[in-house]
């Protein structure tokens, strides 16, 4: 097991397998996108209360879940980097941050667009929206911190500490709709309960979630590849690839 982890942690190995892997992931992503969008925009019936404007759920919810998921990846990679000093986790964290920030911004903006027809207002200062906004600031702060250092190794470890401190925000966002009475809709999909949403609306949603996840993985793989070249620019295998 340890051998596999160390092998995976080696930048060269990651570089070799990531191109192949990213091709498969992209195919899955495109298939799920097409399926999810068709199912969500065409097949699913209009909501009896909101009409067609509810369809933005197919972008808003996956984006919001991705914003939380990527932050957890950020914090986990950071923890692994601090404890076991594995270089690849530094790179994964560094490339994931802008993607996570974009998803957070997407979640906030699609939420605002949805809010106007549904609640009559673009924004309200309730617990979930405010903590999601704090998450955006945390991402931006993380990116700013990383770019303030010249030495990338120190940048990665400093960012890891920031990410670990901000991790407290994730449960707050997740449980905010249960803990405080809020304008935002309560949780509808939990792992253990029968979901309170109809199956024809649920399946495109799940497809979109998978599509967003594979989108993130594909982009992260590609960006990690190019970062590896930058990190390892002194080693012989990189010099061979670049033809120097």
């Amino acid at each position: 097991m340890y051998k596999w982890i160390h092998q995976f942690g080696s930048p060269k190995y990651f570089y070799d397998i990531s191109l192949h892997l990213s091709k498969w992931v992209t195919i899955v992503c495109i298939v799920c996108f097409i399926g999810g969008l068709y199912g969500g925009l065409v097949l699913a019936p209009a909501d009896y209360q909101q009409g067609d404007s509810f369809r933005i759920i197919y972008v808003h919810v996956p984006a919001a879940w991705m914003s939380l998921f990527i932050y957890v990846i950020l914090a986990t990679s950071g923890a692994i980097s601090l404890i076991w000093h594995i270089k690849i986790t530094d790179i994964i964290a560094r490339v994931s941050a802008p993607i996570g920030a974009s998803f957070t911004f997407l979640a906030l903006s699609t939420g605002a667009i949805w809010g106007k027809p549904m609640w009559g207002t673009y924004w309200v200062w309730d617990a979930r929206l405010t903590s999601e906004l704090i998450l955006l600031f945390l991402y931006l702060g993380y990116i700013a911190l990383q770019s303030a250092f010249d030495d990338k190794r120190i940048a990665a470890r400093a960012g890891a500490i920031l990410a670990l401190i901000g991790i407290i925000n994730i449960p707050i966002i997740h449980y905010s709709v249960e803990w405080w009475s809020t304008l935002h809709q309560g949780p509808t999909i939990t792992k253990l309960d029968k979901p309170s949403i109809h199956l024809t609306m649920l399946i495109p949603l799940i497809l979109m979630v998978i599509a967003f996840k594979t989108f993130y993985i594909a982009i992260a793989l590609i960006k990690t590849r190019s970062e590896i070249l930058k990190y390892e620019c002194n080693s012989s295998w990189v010099k061979k690839i670049l033809g120097n």
């Binding site: 000093h85 010249d150 030495d151 620019c233 002194n234």
Partner: protein, 209 residues
């Protein structure tokens, strides 16, 4: 009998490899100078030895145990003096010395005047460092050498800013320390000779050792 050793050390700063494959072993009474031009990695090497900089390739061992594994056991035995003097400009000489003394963990009472006399700063007990010259500030920083019980000394350019008298004092101090079984590693710009004591050397050239 203590042993300080380095195995296969590699140092990369700002994407430049300063040195690779460095090996070193020092035992009781060892005195080592690290010299090289500016930017050759002298201070970095010293900081790696003291444990300030974490390295990915190679290891630093104290009594054959990696210093990261028993960090405070190692730090109990070292004294590091860097380029800067680590003194507070708004505290008097005596107050600075009190803090230095507390950090060494020594329970004995400190005799300011004796130490100041030895370092050549008699009577300056109540003076503030912002009124002192660079050489005097350096001497104040070097009073650590008189107050420590540590076996292993890491000194980064200790003779900087000192006049001939000061250099002699510090040289004698280092020789006494090593003669009593201590280990000293220091960096200098140019290769030095020390009378009356065997001195090992490492010369760091850019991109090589």
């Amino acid at each position: 009998m203590s042993k300080f050793s380095i195995n296969n050390l590699e140092c990369i700063r700002q994407n430049n490899i300063l040195f690779k494959g460095l090996n070193l072993s020092m035992e009781d009474g060892g005195l080592l100078q690290i010299n090289g031009a500016n930017g050759s990695g002298k201070s970095s090497l010293l900081q790696i030895c003291a444990g300030l900089i974490q390295i990915t390739t190679g290891e630093v061992l104290w009594n054959n145990i990696n210093i990261n594994q028993r960090r405070y056991e190692f730090q109990n035995n070292i004294l590091y003096i860097g380029h800067t003097n680590a003194i507070k400009a708004t505290l008097t000489v005596e107050e600075n010395m009190t803090i230095i003394h507390s950090l060494t963990g020594s329970k004995s009472k400190i005799n300011y005047s004796t130490i100041l006399k030895k370092i050549g700063m008699s009577g300056m007990n109540k003076i503030f460092p912002y009124n002192m010259s660079a050489g005097q500030k350096r001497r104040l920083g070097l009073t650590r050498l008189f107050m420590t019980k540590s076996k292993l000394w890491f000194l980064d350019e200790p003779f900087n800013a000192l006049d001939k008298e000061g250099k002699k004092i510090i040289e004698n101090l280092i020789i006494n320390h090593c003669a009593k079984g201590g280990i000293t590693i220091f960096t200098t710009h140019q290769k030095m000779e020390i009378d009356g004591y065997p001195l090992q050397s490492i010369h760091l050239r850019n991109n090589n050792v």
